[in-house]
């Protein structure tokens, strides 16, 4: 690893990353398609699409709709099921990119579902960490229900941490009155850290039909539009809780990455921006050193230490 690269290193529990950049879950599939476009070993890590106990088609279409500087999605956790993900998707990805830490996104509709998937997928020979998705707004059962209730979030996290043999990061919902309360409850279950934000619930209507555009009626808002909300929520969680945070929500460029790290993130996931430009992650990684120079940031570890009030 060259010196230039070392400026970008960040360390989180279970994740020693060459840089803080990872495509967010649902915006990179299982790495197959992006892996045909560029070398994924460049990435800090990858957060693969949600895994559920059984294969899911997800919601009917239309599943996406544009909004000013953002989009709504209601994919509905489409995935081939944990069996195929463990048997094929993950081994294929590891075989092609052996320097790429994989973070598996786990979803379910009951605690026992979540636990079963965590047990099956959450093994160090398969993945580096789990992102526990307790905040998906696009499914009728499970998902966000767990993420908006401190008790349910605590108990689910506890069970999943026990079931998995890899660090568990809990993905928090922005659709709550006070995220600090949820974060503090979840923290008691000893997760490795948090990831946030998942999408904000939104709607669009078709003026011709006078009906919602999305077949699911509501969808999750993501993209640049949500950046200021993500920065606030990350800052709030950081202010009450020392656990590391993988930040996400509207990040589009190297400047946004630094802003999110200033707000409280220890690594940064890029979601919607991949849909606008599939090459955005390697571009951001390439841009980071220059933009860091511009703002006199020696290294990302320094930035994090100074933010946390540790003298370096």
């Amino acid at each position: 690893m060259t010196n230039e690269n070392a400026r970008l290193n960040v360390d989180l529990p279970g994740l020693t990353l060459k840089n803080p950049i990872m495509p967010a879950s649902g915006c990179c599939g299982f790495g197959e398609e992006l892996g045909n476009l560029y070398d994924l070993n460049q990435l800090g890590a990858i957060m693969i699409k949600a895994a559920t106990s059984r294969p899911r088609f997800g919601n009917e279409t239309p599943r996406v709709s544009e909004t000013p500087s953002g989009m709504l999605n209601a994919i509905g956790l489409q995935n081939p099921g944990v069996d195929e993900i463990v048997a094929e998707k993950i081994p294929n990805l590891k075989a092609k990119f052996n320097q790429l830490p994989i973070i598996a996104n786990v979803a379910g509709s009951s605690e026992s579902d979540y636990v079963a998937v965590c047990r099956q997928i959450g093994q160090p020979e398969k993945i580096a960490a789990i992102e526990l998705n307790i905040s998906c707004p696009n499914v009728a059962h499970g998902g966000m229900e767990f993420g908006v209730d401190p008790e349910a979030a605590y108990s689910l996290t506890k069970a999943c941490v026990a079931a998995a043999n890899v660090p568990v990061y809990v993905k928090l919902s922005p659709n709550v009155t006070d995220i600090r309360e949820i974060a503090q409850a979840v923290a008691k279950a000893n997760p490795a850290g948090f990831t946030l934000i998942n999408t904000l619930v939104g709607m669009r209507f078709d003026l011709n039909t006078k009906q919602p555009i999305l077949a699911n009626r509501t969808g999750g808002l993501s993209g640049p539009a949500v950046l200021p909300v993500a920065l606030r929520l990350i800052n709030q969680v950081k202010s009450v809780c020392d656990l590391p945070i993988i930040g996400m929500g509207g990040v589009n460029c190297a400047k946004d990455v630094l802003e999110m790290m200033i707000a409280g993130a220890d690594a940064v996931a890029i979601g919607t921006a991949n849909l606008t430009d599939p090459f955005v992650c390697p571009k951001i990684i390439a841009d980071l050193p220059n933009v860091m120079d511009q703002y006199h940031i020696t290294s990302l570890k320094d930035l994090i230490a100074q933010r946390n009030g540790v003298s370096v």
Binding site: K49, F57, T61, V64, E66, M71, I75, T272
Partner: protein, 261 residues
């Protein structure tokens, strides 16, 4: 190889009210585009984060040019209609799978069915089939007289019938009427259709079971490259199960018996 090509606008022509032909210069023209593939165009205003998919209407490798033909239907295409010569655009492509044509022989007889803004990818298809000396017949539908475009361009490939929904030009009626009236008698080695969902369903039903009948499907997309799962269709084989096809990578061209439109 899929890349995010920077292309320069050569010219923009309004073919018919709200229908524009955009000629773009750039290396994407030599990226090995097949007829039926599409590109994903970045709208040059950052408020719009989703790219817009358009079929490639013509590829000119020698001049390093491609043409897109599009109709202004919303905010994105409204902005596109304002781009000027020398402006630059970002164009991701070539995307998806085009029309299978390798199995065709000279003198084979082929039917091309197009409706409205479904015509663009069929035009490049016609050019390729002409090179292969395939015999083509065209059924082209438009909503009304003033929205007819590229009739003469298609007529250069073979016999071309035009219908309009309101009968203001050509034959009045639907594609089914046209098929029954004009094309029933013949056998075709291949059928290629692109147009509104209703047209594609009609063609799928009409030619059900034909080994080489293809439609190019449309869907609301985000990524255009298979990473977001926005553009899925159920398969005819498993209409209620978890199987799916993604229009952007498995299509946009499908055999008529493959997907549920």
């Amino acid at each position: 190889m899929i890349k995010d090509y920077t292309v320069t606008v050569e010219q923009q022509v309004e073919l018919a009210p709200t229908i524009f032909e955009l000629t773009l210069n750039g290396a994407i023209a030599t990226a090995g585009i097949t007829a039926g593939q599409f590109v994903n165009v970045k709208i040059p205003d950052d408020q719009y984060i989703l790219r817009r998919p358009f079929g490639v209407a013509e590829v000119n490798e020698t001049k390093a040019q491609i043409k897109l033909i599009y109709r202004v239907v919303g905010e994105g295409t409204e902005i596109m209609a304002k781009v000027q010569p020398d402006d630059q655009l970002k164009v991701l492509g070539p995307l998806g799978h085009g029309f299978p044509i390798d199995f065709l022989q000279p003198k084979d007889r082929v039917l091309i069915v197009g409706g409205g803004t479904g015509l663009p990818p069929l035009y490049e298809l016609g050019r390729r089939l002409q090179q292969k000396q395939v015999q083509m017949e065209m059924a082209l539908g438009f909503p009304t007289r003033e929205r007819v475009f590229y009739e003469h361009e298609f007529a250069a490939f073979g016999e071309t019938y035009v219908s309009t929904d309101d009968g203001t030009y050509g034959i009045q009626g639907t594609i089914i009427d046209l098929l029954n009236q004009k094309f029933k008698a013949h056998e075709y080695q291949a059928i290629y259709a692109c147009g509104p969902r209703g047209l594609e369903i009609a063609v799928s039903n009409y030619f059900a079971g034909h080994p080489n009948a293809y439609i190019s499907a449309e869907a609301r997309m985000a990524c255009g490259i298979g990473i977001c799962n926005a553009c899925v269709l159920h398969t005819k084989a498993d209409p209620n199960g978890p199987s799916e096809k993604k229009v952007c990578v498995d299509g946009p061209v499908f055999h008529i018996d493959e997907v549920l439109l």
